[in-house]
Amino acid sequence: MAPEGFTLNYTAVVIAGIVGFVGMAIMFAASFILSPKKRTPLKDMPYECGIPPAPYSWSQLHMRYYIFAILFLIFDVEAVFLFPWAVVFLTSIDAVFYEMLLFIAILFFGIIYSWKKGVLQWK
């Protein structure tokens, strides 16, 4: 059973998204009508501070970005668990609080471990 106003709440969210989308689309259309359109070969080139651009710029990404993305995933999922806990732990039994302390301790150990491993060093 959904709580009262649930449907309306999330309808509002969707509508705001649609309004944002359509509003910006209208702006693009207005700009399309107003703006001059004059293509030249030079305007066709990507900007690279004046030198002729290299033909292929979709470079591979460095490993370190990937590591930070994984770290982010771990802690973001943790937050998903922490938020429901944050609003109920005072009204639940005591074990709930201590259990979450254990959970946070494990994660904290994780960040210390990755620190010692040198993962957090941007090099």
């Binding site: 509002a12 705001a16 107003l34 990507p46 005072l90 960040i111």
Partner: protein, 371 residues
């Protein structure tokens, strides 16, 4: 139901208009304020005190040619600004500007805001990637790394507030602050939230991804005209959102001692006054600090702010669970902050300098060389 939907559409349109006006005001304030910081006048020719300058800028942007290099990945290139802008607008559905002035007061408000604020990262990476420009690709990666890293301390700081208020409903959070604002109870959380928030905005001193002197504008290099202005709009609405959240979470929102908290006009005035003060601090920081290097930025995020955020949660949890008086938490927070500042300044001072050995060629003193 149909009436409800029509009302919601009208409210969303009002929101979009109000935020556009706010953005115009922010642009003017920023330029004027930065101007005064640098002992210039700022905009002063268009309209009284240059007030119409942002309007002129907006018209200029609309009438500008929308350049599109023939190398870009067209679909992603067109969609990326929208992916950045739409979540930023959607956040505002649940940010209350007075007790009853909010489109829908979601029970999961804080959670919703955090969930949607992450979505913009996708747009920035997509913009960088689709531009087919080396600087843009680099800027996109940088944006991903930076925003993702600072999301963690931001989330954990907000969690501290959710714990104190025992609610994720923003109106509830503000009502809980009618005695003591959370900035006094939990100063550590405020500092973490504000620094991480600045980093989320990509504003100085954390503007690593649009760094003009390094990646010449980052993901936005290839954008111009209306498409660029959507990024710009999103950035300013986001700035306003972070300032508004700082006020709501830590400075008691529309509450002010001696003023009624249930008269919409007074509440709105108090809220706007507080928010614009926070905005001025953000602009002040922009006018004062140089940009961080990217390794400093990541170190600050992961080695300082994330552990601090954990400490903040643990302290808040213990304070609530064992029922300590509030001043204990304040004192602990301040102590941790002071220790951090001390540790940081020490670490910065003792950072090893690269050793430079200077060798001067002197043929007469080279013993054993001549033999």
């Amino acid at each position: 139901m149909l009436l409800d939907v029509a009302l919601l559409v009208a409210l969303s349109l009002t929101l979009l208009t109000a935020l556009s006006v706010v953005v115009l005001s922010l642009v003017w304030i920023e330029r004027k304020f930065l101007g005064r910081i640098q002992m210039r006048m700022g905009p002063m020719h268009v309209g009284p005190f240059g007030l119409l300058q942002p309007v002129a800028d907006a018209i200029k942007l609309m009438a500008k040619e929308d350049l599109l290099s023939s190398w870009v990945d067209r679909v992603i290139y067109w969609v990326a600004p929208l992916v950045v802008f739409v979540p930023v607008l959607m956040i505002w559905v649940t940010i209350p500007v007075a007790r009853d002035l909010v489109i829908r007061n979601l029970d999961l408000g804080l959670f919703y805001i955090i969930a949607f604020s992450v979505l913009s990262i996708v747009g920035l990476v997509a913009a960088g990637w689709a531009s087919s420009n080396k600087y843009a690709v680099l800027g996109g990666f940088r944006a991903a790394a930076q925003l993702v890293s600072y999301e963690i301390p931001l989330i954990l700081a907000v969690l501290g507030v959710a714990m104190l208020a025992q609610s994720m409903n923003l109106v509830q959070v503000v009502n809980e602050q009618n005695v003591w604002v959370y900035a006094l109870i939990q100063p550590l959380g405020l500092v973490i939230f504000f620094i991480a928030g600045l980093a989320e905005l990509g504003r100085t001193p954390f503007d690593i991804h649009p760094a003009e002197s390094e990646v010449v504008g980052g993901p936005f290099v290839e954008y111009s005209g209306a498409h660029w202005s959507v990024f710009f709009l999103a950035e300013y609405i986001n700035t306003f959102a972070i300032a508004a959240l700082t006020v709501l979470l830590y400075f008691g929102g529309w509450l002010f001692p001696g003023l009624p908290g249930d008269v919409p006009i007074i509440s709105l005035a108090v809220f706007l006054a507080k928010t614009y003060l926070v905005i001025l601090v953000i602009f002040w920081i922009r006018g004062t600090y140089p940009r961080l290097r990217i390794d400093q930025l990541m170190s600050l995020g992961w080695k300082v702010l994330v552990p601090l955020a954990f400490v903040n949660i643990l302290m808040t949890g213990a304070y609530l669970f064992y029922g300590w008086p509030a001043w204990v938490l304040s004192l602990l927070s301040v102590a941790v902050l002071a220790a951090t500042v001390w540790g940081l300044s020490k670490a910065m001072r003792t950072a090893p300098r690269p050793e430079v050995t200077v060798r001067i060629y002197n043929p007469t003193s080279e013993a054993g060389h001549a033999g």
